[in-house]
Symmetry: C2
Subunit: 194 residues, 2 copies
């Protein structure tokens, strides 16, 4: 039986979902630069105050959208079929994971990438998705038997497929295929356990 | 014997040096954000038009200052004593080179780093210094006997010691010592020729 406070909680959850839904529509139809508190409030038919109370600020709203948008990818690399998901050797999973990131970054219209780009780099790195990426890479390095400063090596490897790095390389005319190749090469060298 | 046109050329060189000197004074005394065309013109006692004719725009002036500021470092890694300069094994030179970059980036008051930070990332990467860094790393990878896409691997390795990456890592409280360690580890793994 639903109590009064359960019902208040599920009202709050429904309202939150309605606000995120409005924001998502704006991103998909007009691009993430249209996620402004003013435009989202208008789209959802609420006052700006409601949005600020719920999400703190624009970056807070973007972070909530991002975690939502990243849920499928998170599911795929933690519990989906190999070689992205469990079941393949750790080095192979690491190759596949980075290549998936590269592919998502260079693909126009990837919602998670578009949202992440709109965030301040500090917020992006500390987002749920950013934290999960680092933990995943560090875990696969450990599982590969690499003896290293796993957390820091994970950060460094991920910097080679960051937006900044990939935008720079794409700007120099490097093809997606070459990017996939150099990532695979780097991972194989790093995880080569002598 | 000096001809009229030799003398015009050396006047031009002297004037250029005088403008760079004024800009350098501003950077050293007040920081690179004071390299504005207005402030440099005032410091050098010339009109802004002279500056624009000579350097194109502010980034052009910063690039000229940067190449100048980087001359000593370039000399050190191409012709100075080992292990930064020639004479040490290529992997060891690569370790030392990256650690020198890390040290310069985290040191306050390094003129080249301060100038490079003021440039747009695209201009920074295409500067004389940026181009020379990539060529140096690619050359050392080749000399180490690594069979790879040397140019791209060089770019990727350098991304792990870029301002963006190092600022991010420092912001997470990673010590300079740990940064030196992970770079050395990465280079050893990459250049490990089985």
């Amino acid at each position: 039986m639903e109590t009064a406070s359960d019902s208040a909680r599920s009202d709050a959850a429904r309202n939150r979902e309605r606000l995120l839904e409005a924001a998502r529509r704006l991103v998909v139809e007009h691009g993430p630069e249209h996620v402004t508190m003013r435009e989202v409030a208008a789209e959802a038919g609420v006052g700006k105050g409601t949005l600020f109370r719920r999400f703190g600020d624009r970056d807070g709203l973007l972070l909530a959208l991002l975690d939502d948008a990243e849920a499928d990818f998170l599911e795929a690399y933690t519990a989906g079929p190999p070689p992205l998901g469990p079941g393949a050797p750790a080095p192979e999973r690491l190759v596949t994971f980075g290549q998936a990131l590269i592919q998502r970054t260079v693909t126009e219209g990837d919602l998670g990438s578009a949202l992440a780009r709109e965030l301040l780099p500090g917020h992006r790195n500390d987002s749920g998705a950013g934290t999960a990426f680092r933990a995943h890479v560090a875990g696969l390095l450990r599982e590969s038997g690499v003896e290293a400063d796993h957390e820091l090596l994970a950060l460094v490897l991920l910097s080679s497929v960051s937006f900044e790095t990939l935008d720079h390389l794409r700007g120099r005319g490097v093809s997606e295929e070459r990017l996939h190749g150099v990532w695979a090469d780097l991972v194989r060298r790093v995880t080569h356990v002598a």
